[in-house]
Subunit: 326 residues, 2 copies
C-alpha cells in the first residue's frame, strides 16, 4: 500500500478533528424493503452532510492540516461539483480562499452554489483538456495549494470517517458498496473495513460506461475509459482510476460492480419512494447495483453510501420521473 | 386538563416501550438556511419513521396496552392514511388485525400501502358521512377495539415521544410548530414542552382553509370548518378539533398559525432542495408557516415536525414542481 495513504488511526484522528464541523449522518433502513429483498439494506445518507455531500469531510480535514501561511495562499482543485462545494465551504470557514477547476458541462446548480460560497471557478473542456494540467498551471502561477478530491492523505482520512461512522452504527456488515469516481471514498472505506471489520467485503460501484476501476482491478493496472462517453452520474464521470488511490483499492477491494443509467434512474425513484430521500444520480450507483442483483443481499446485511443530494428539483424530475422509464 | 390525558411520565414510559420498535428520527439543520433566516431552523424528520410517518408511535403503543383477548378481537379506526399505515403495521407486528375507515378521496397510494400491510379498508364520503358513525357501527357489530388517531391516552403518549426525542437532541428551543389535524401530536408535544422546556412556545400549524384549531383557540371553544373545502394537505384535513385533545391544546398552546396551499407547495420544494427530504404536503405546514413569516425565527431556535413522507413521486412533482408556481 502507498506509504502516504491514510491509516485506520489517522481516520480515527480525523473523526475527532471533524467533530462539530461535519454532521454525523443517519443510517437509514426500511423494514418493507428488507422484507422484499430478504436481507438488510442500509443507506449511509451523506446527502444530509454539510454542503449536501461527503466531500467536505476530506476537504476540511486537508485545510486543517495546512499552516496559516499556506491557507493564506489559498487552495485549488479539480471538481465536478461536490468537492468544489466542500472545499469552498471549508475555505470560507478556515479563512482561506478556493479556486475550482470544473468541467464546462458541470451541473449549473453546483457551479452557482460553489460561487455563492465565495469560490472562483475556472472551466475546462472534458474531452480536449486535462484537468490536472489546468490545476498545475494555477498552482505554479499563484502559489495556491492543491487539495485534490481524493489523492491526498488528509483528504482520504476525512473521507474515511464516513465508513467509521457506519461501522460504529452497524457493526455486522457483509458488504459495503461505494460509489466510485476517483476512488478516494472507496479506498478510505476499504482501509476502515480492513482494520475494523475484515469480514466486510468492499466493492467499487460505477456507472456501466465509466467502469474504469472495475476493469483496472481485473487487469491489475490502471485502464482509462474511452473518451466522448457520458452518464447521468456527473459526480463520478472520471477518466481513469486515481494513481494514489488505485493501489489501495487493488489491494483491499472485493471487486467492482456497475449500473446502467436506467438502473440509476430507477434507484433514484426507489430512494425517493421507500427512503424519502433526495439523492443525486452518482450517489445511488451502489444502491442501483444492489437492486440490479450484482451483489447478493439475501440473508445478508449490505450497506451503501448515498454520497450526495445536490440536484435541482427540475433535474430530479427529468431523471427520476415516472414518465422517463427507458 | 382532561384527567385521562397522557402525562410527561407516561410519555417517558412510552419511549421505553417503543424502543427497538420505532426509529429515533434525525433532527436536520442546514447552515446555509440558518444564515438566510438569521436563526436556527430544526426539522424533526418523522418522514424517516417506520411506515413513513409518526403515527405508528401512538398506534403501536395503544396496541401494546391491550390484553391478548382484545388484540384477538382486532382494532378499527378512522384515518386519512398515515394512522392507517401505522395501525396496520402495528396490528401485523402484534398479532392483531385492523379495519380502517378512510375517506373515499384518500390518497390511493396510502390506501394501497395500507392494504399491502394486511388491513381491510371501509370508505366513507367526507362531505355526507361522519367517520365516527362508521367506526361506531363497526365496533358495535364486530367487537373490534377503536384505536383513534389522537383521542386516546396511549396514542397521545406514543405521539409525545416525537417531542421527547426532539427535546433530548435540541434542548434550547424557543418555539415548536406542529402540523395539526386532530390535534394529538400537537397536544402531546405541548405536554412534553410544558414539563421539559417551559420556555418553548408550542404552536398548532394548519392549512389556511382548515384552521379550526387556531379559531377554536381564539374562541375558547371548538369551532368546525365549513364543509366542502379542500386542501392539498390530505393528512390534516379535519372537520373540527378533537374533543379529547382540544382542552389540552387550549390550556398549553401559544396559538395557531396557518399556511396557504401555495405556501405548502413552496415549503415542499424548500425541504427538497435544502434538506434533501421528501415531505408530504400536510407534513410541511409548520415549515411553511415559518417561511411565510408567521413565527419569528430571527435570533431564535425554532423546530417543526416533518410529520410524514408518504407521497408518490408523480404527486410530489405535480405539487412541488417548479412549473406549478401559483
Amino acid at each position: 500500500m502507498n506509504e502516504n495513504s491514510a491509516t485506520f488511526d489517522e481516520i480515527q484522528s480525523a473523526q475527532t478533528a471533524l467533530s462539530g464541523v461535519t454532521a454525523r449522518t443517519p443510517v437509514l433502513e426500511n423494514a418493507e424493503v428488507n422484507a422484499r429483498l430478504g436481507g438488510r439494506l442500509l443507506l449511509k445518507a451523506e446527502s444530509f452532510q454539510r454542503t449536501g455531500a461527503f466531500k467536505i469531510r476530506g476537504a476540511y480535514h486537508r485545510l486543517q492540516s495546512l499552516t496559516a501561511e499556506e491557507r493564506a495562499r489559498g487552495v485549488v482543485s479539480y471538481s465536478s461539483g461536490n468537492h468544489a462545494l466542500g472545499l469552498a465551504q471549508a475555505a470560507g470557514m478556515l479563512g482561506s480562499s478556493a479556486v475550482l477547476v470544473m468541467p464546462s458541462d458541470a451541473s449549473p446548480a453546483k457551479m452557482n452554489a460553489t460561487r455563492a460560497l465565495g469560490a472562483r471557478i475556472v472551466t475546462f473542456d472534458r474531452d480536449t483538456e486535462n484537468s490536472a494540467d489546468v490545476v498545475a498551471r494555477i498552482t505554479s502561477q499563484s502559489g495556491r495549494i492543491e487539495v485534490p478530491p481524493s489523492g491526498n492523505k488528509h483528504v482520504l482520512a476525512g473521507a474515511g470517517t464516513v465508513a467509521l461512522e457506519l461501522l460504529e452504527d452497524s457493526p455486522a456488515l457483509d458488504a459495503m458498496l461505494v460509489p466510485c469516481g476517483g476512488g478516494g471514498l472507496t479506498a478510505a472505506s476499504a482501509i476502515v473495513m480492513a482494520e475494523g471489520s475484515p469480514q466486510t467485503r468492499v466493492f467499487a460501484a460505477e456507472p456501466a460506461l465509466f467502469d474504469d476501476t472495475r476493469r483496472s482491478l481485473e487487469a491489475g493496472k490502471r485502464i482509462a475509459n474511452p473518451t466522448g462517453q457520458r452518464t447521468v452520474c456527473d459526480a463520478i464521470m472520471t477518466p481513469i482510476p486515481n494513481a494514489f488511490t488505485f493501489p489501495i483499492n487493488l489491494e483491499l477491494l472485493a471487486g467492482g460492480v456497475t449500473a446502467s443509467d436506467a438502473d440509476v434512474r430507477a434507484a433514484m425513484r426507489f430512494a425517493f419512494e421507500y427512503f424519502k430521500i433526495v439523492a443525486e444520480p452518482g450517489a445511488v450507483v451502489g444502491l442501483a447495483a444492489i437492486l440490479n442483483g450484482q451483489v447478493e443481499i439475501k440473508n445478508k446485511t449490505v450497506a451503501t453510501v448515498i454520497t450526495g443530494g445536490n440536484i435541482e428539483l427540475s433535474r430530479f424530475m427529468a431523471l427520476a420521473g415516472a414518465d422517463n422509464d427507458t
